[in-house]
Symmetry: C2
Subunit: 215 residues, 2 copies
């Protein structure tokens, strides 16, 4: 096994759903900026990024969110707490914002994108996927979630995906509805406490032959 | 920026949704085994892994899948083609299989897990999430998808997430329904062709200040 391959598996094995964060340890600003960029480099369907990552800094809001998340200590104890929220409703305005980004960042003529725009509007806004648009956008948020956890682990930063939360209360506490956003899941990031017994438990996984199915 | 941080961002920037794979280049078996392990190390809700990764080797099936995926060349041209399928229905049997894995892999007594089991059955099978269980399980599959794309990039392996496919036809072609599985998305993996013009296009992304929202 190459050194890169070994490091990859060691990093992913080191990662675990951190239960106890060290409240005294903060992610340095420079490291956080790298993680923000890593999240931004995540792929998404058509590149639309139908989500925002809410970086909750306000301690009072963190405390309120903790109450809306089964009082899980990670919400307040982790260095950073990111709420993954999808854009609602997702429609033509979001697609046109993407078009504008493409024109600006690739230097192409808007007319050259007309067919691509029509295809996206057709499939996402008017087509069969429109009925499941919230599932589609939350799926995209989960790609970022997976990517960000892997990136954090590479930098020695712990995390813990949180789905056990009340999304409606989260939206209220953070004022997301007014911003056209809806909570999907959350990710505290920081550094594990040495006493967190979950760090050393063997991972429970399907054997590779059960996870993978060769056809 | 540390060397690790720099490498992380270079790797994620190198990744792009590969449109043209080199059909002559195959992922070595040893590399593929590392990627399988990387996928297995992905986190999932409660550790339940409510999915399987279908590694389609049969060229005739790959050709049929391509027809059910808008004739996208990656389906047949990439070295490997993985279909992400979730377990349906997801119920007590899947939770009990996880219980058995936990007992075997952590060496704990089944009785010690009774409360944990009851909580999972309560929330996933009998509780409010039962109505959205397919969204929940597909979300978990997308975490693996994000993680696997990041791991592949680290090893210099290209990929391209595919949602533009007919999941019902995929299930038929692969006989997944009889196996209690349902297609969610797919990922061809392999090596880009030097002529793929998409490799060098600048990535279109929300500025960091639009992707992140500080509160």
């Amino acid at each position: 096994m190459s050194q890169t391959e070994q490091q990859l598996l060691e990093t992913l094995s080191w990662r675990y759903a951190t239960k106890q964060f060290d409240p005294s340890r903060k992610i340095p600003d420079a490291t956080w900026e790298v993680l923000r960029k890593a999240a931004s480099l995540s792929p998404s369907s058509f590149g639309l990024e139908p989500y925002r990552l809410v970086d909750v800094r306000d301690p009072a809001k963190r405390e309120a969110l903790r109450q809306a998340a089964w009082n899980q200590s990670q919400v307040t104890d982790a260095s950073h707490f990111v709420v993954f929220a999808v854009e609602v409703p997702f429609g033509v305005a979001q697609i046109d914002a993407f078009m504008a980004r493409t024109v600006a960042q690739r230097g192409v003529a808007p007319e050259s994108l007309a067919a691509y725009r029509a295809m996206m509007v057709g499939t996402l806004v008017e087509g069969p996927r429109a009925q499941k648009i919230h599932t589609w956008s939350s799926n995209q948020a989960y790609i970022v979630l997976g990517n960000l956890m892997a990136a954090a682990a590479q930098l020695g930063v712990d995390s813990c995906p949180l789905e056990g939360l009340d999304p409606v209360k989260f939206d209220e506490i953070l004022g997301l509805k007014e911003k056209g956003l809806a909570t999907v899941c959350a990710l505290p990031l920081g550094y594990r406490l040495a006493t967190d017994k979950y760090a050393s438990l063997p991972k429970v996984r399907k054997p590779l032959g059960e996870l993978f199915l060769e056809i």
